[in-house]
Amino acid sequence: MNANLRRNWLLQGVVSLGECGLFFVAVAGAVPKSLRYWRELCRQVWFVGAMSLVIVMTCGLFVGMVLALQLFNTLSIFGATSELGTAVALSLFRELGPVVTALLVAGRAGTAVTAEIGLMRATDQLDAMSMMAVDPLAYVAAPRFLAGIIAMPLLACVFNAMGIFGGHLVGVTWLGLDNGTFWGNMTSTVMLQRDILDGVYKSIVFGGVVSLIAVFQGYTAPPTSEGVAYSTTRTVVFSSIVILAFDFVMTAFMT
């Protein structure tokens, strides 16, 4: 019995992964056609990007502040508090910026996209589009997928900027570190290609993964209130796992 359940569970996982892969191919194929719906793309970038700004900026600020506080205490043991700016910036650019932003976007925008598409499916809106000879993959799925890829790196940059501002607030304004040392050490150590762009590449991949999962879960949500609720939950759970797993793999290749 247990073996059967395990096998079914494993089988379901493999089937879902395969379906998601095929869905990705279908959405990617619909991307060129979706570019004619550029207004819809702009609306989605606004929804995923601009509407996530408040949460991303607030979290970025607090993450930067707590990072500076923790690192200041640790660095002061070794008498290296002058490296606080560098440590905060590197932690943010390489890891925390892309990863935390992706987790936040999955929770805020990913769930909304899944619920929206799931309800569109449940109320026959996707079928209605298809009956009006409008491909829902090009009109609904592809713009939301592209919006994630476009908005995620921009949001991560905002997160990083707010994090550094928070770090500066704690390190310099509160704990009294020298302003010139904070900025000087940071700018001389952080490299554009190695640190900043690697983080941006991560963000682009996370953006694609989060929006693909969100759109896929919405598209395949059973047309019931319970089905949409489960799919929304799955978007957050799967996105979180995949973001952290991809982060490890990408970091391993980048370092």
């Binding site: 569109m120 109320t123 026959d124 809106q125 079928d127 209605a128 589009m129 298809s130 009956m131 009006m132 000879a133 409008v134 491909d135």
Partner: protein, 279 residues
């Protein structure tokens, strides 16, 4: 006439022609050799017990679902073999009224009707506005153009959906249970619209519905489908008078008959433990 072997009246003028349709969904057989014809310019009603595949038939006609075997021809085109591009081209000539209206909830009534025009026709804004208002006027809702779908009653939403379905002046409209959940006034309004569209524009209509009184008012011909096959056909009045187990149960509203009252189950007494199970 033996209703079990009902055959469609073959017509060269048939807009829709279904032959030998076989469909299985999961373990359930939906169609088991269905044949039917829908003449041009007619209002044809498809009736049958719930779960008999009436909506599935509409999905076959529009290529949303492909049958396992069989032929579905609409305006001479074999739907089952059309490419995606050709299928979309065919759908531009077919209007589909969904059971729950399926209006796009992000758009106003005006934009819902303008949606197909904006996607497929590069029209000047003024002309587009005129077309949309004409269609809204036809369904009596020109004054509701700026409302959002959430502000409409069920009957109004159905009429907006109808205006959207006729925006390209289609040759064929498919109505999926258009009377469900409507009060008598809204039902009569939708009924009148179906008849008017058919008479004035000559649009062929296929209607999936259960409301006998409404169907008797509007339909030229009724097909009764059960157990995956066509079991009876004819004009509504003619069919209501027909003496076959299917028409007697369906038109007489009998609870038990060829469509059993009880869902298939093991023996009642055995299940309650009053009788030993047969070994």
């Amino acid at each position: 006439m033996n209703p079990g072997v009902a055959q469609p009246e073959s017509s060269a003028a048939a807009l829709v022609q279904v032959r030998g349709l076989h469909t299985r969904i999961g373990a359930k057989t939906i169609f088991d050799g269905l044949d039917l014809d829908v003449p041009r310019g007619s209002v044809t009603a498809i009736m049958g017990p719930s779960g008999t595949g009436k909506t599935t038939l509409l999905r076959h006609l529009t290529g949303q679902l492909r049958p396992d075997t069989g032929s579905v021809r609409v305006d001479g085109e074999e739907v089952t073999k059309l490419s995606r591009r050709d299928l979309f081209a065919l759908r531009e000539r077919i209007g589909f009224l969904f059971q729950n209206s399926a209006l796009l909830t992000d758009f106003s009534v005006f934009e819902n009707i303008a949606f197909p025009l904006r996607q497929h026709a590069k029209l000047p804004e003024e002309l587009l506005r005129d077309i949309v208002l004409t269609k809204l006027q036809a369904v009596g809702l020109r004054g509701a153009a700026q409302l959002m779908p959430s502000e409409l009653s069920g009957g109004m939403a159905r009429r907006v959906a109808l205006a959207r379905a006729i925006v390209f002046d289609p040759m064929l409209i498919l109505y999926d249970e258009p009377f469900v959940g409507l009060d008598p006034i809204a039902l009569n309004q939708v009924l009148r619209l179906i008849r008017t569209l058919n008479h004035t524009l000559g649009i062929t209509s296929i209607l999936v519905a259960h409301e006998l009184a409404a169907i008797q008012k509007v339909a030229d011909r009724v097909y009764l489908i059960a157990n995956g096959k066509l079991v009876a056909q004819g004009a509504p009045d003619e069919l209501a008078r027909q003496d076959s187990p299917w028409t007697r149960q369906f038109f007489g509203g009998e609870a038990d008959g060829p469509v059993p009252f009880h869902y298939p189950a093991p023996d009642y007494a055995t299940e309650l433990g009053f009788r030993e199970a047969h070994r």
